[in-house]
Symmetry: C2
Subunit: 147 residues, 2 copies
Amino acid sequence: MPINAPKDCPLCFPEQEIVLWHDASCRVIRVSDADYPGYCRLIWKDHVSEMSDLTPAEQRHCFNILMAVEVAVRECFRPDKINLASFGNVVPHLHWHVIPRYLDDLHYPQPIWAQAQRKSRGSPAPEVDDARLALAVRNAIAEQIAG
Amino acid sequence: MPINAPKDCPLCFPEQEIVLWHDASCRVIRVSDADYPGYCRLIWKDHVSEMSDLTPAEQRHCFNILMAVEVAVRECFRPDKINLASFGNVVPHLHWHVIPRYLDDLHYPQPIWAQAQRKSRGSPAPEVDDARLALAVRNAIAEQIAG
């Protein structure tokens, strides 16, 4: 059970998630988005709002996991660019977006929250199943934490 | 001189910048944006594209500075939320956006790259001059690096 969990927080009480990896402090999920099939999200377990609300050790852990997810997403999806973002304006529960981007994806070169730049024709990302992505995340986390 | 600097990179060869702090590896600037006067940017010195292109020590340093900027921006601007993002789709030179957000700012609760949600009536952020912001950044960096 997350600390300080409001009953209506969808990240404290998720319904359907593809969890690729988790530990006692956070989890990594794959976002269901047909335009961005490589889109992953790192969700802190406790209901805290900002990175700087974490302790220094928690911050380091969170960034280590974030970097590992970036490495795994690059390895699996070979994107032209990685986008990282932590907003929390709608759901003020700390989470990070990790999005592989391609020159011909729906919004490029804009962030995916901006207006679409072209018509959706399916994603240019290679197909990668959940099991392979989960393995890449797990391996990258092991390497990041060992380093 | 940044490593691997393309002649046309505006972050390798900046024109006008309000530099709040810098060291040998990166700088923190204040972005000139009337709607977001507390908007700061952390720019890595060398022309690298992704966080995971940095060495582990460089990653830690970059995240330490990012966290310190977040702390300084929270202290100076008392926002409702902090937004952090690293895209680089337009300029593939590693940089982080640190944006203090308010419930009644131009785009809330959307990211600032999305469609405006209301008419611009000036920012709800308190007025903070460059010198005070620079001091807050410097102090927060000293504390972050000591911790």
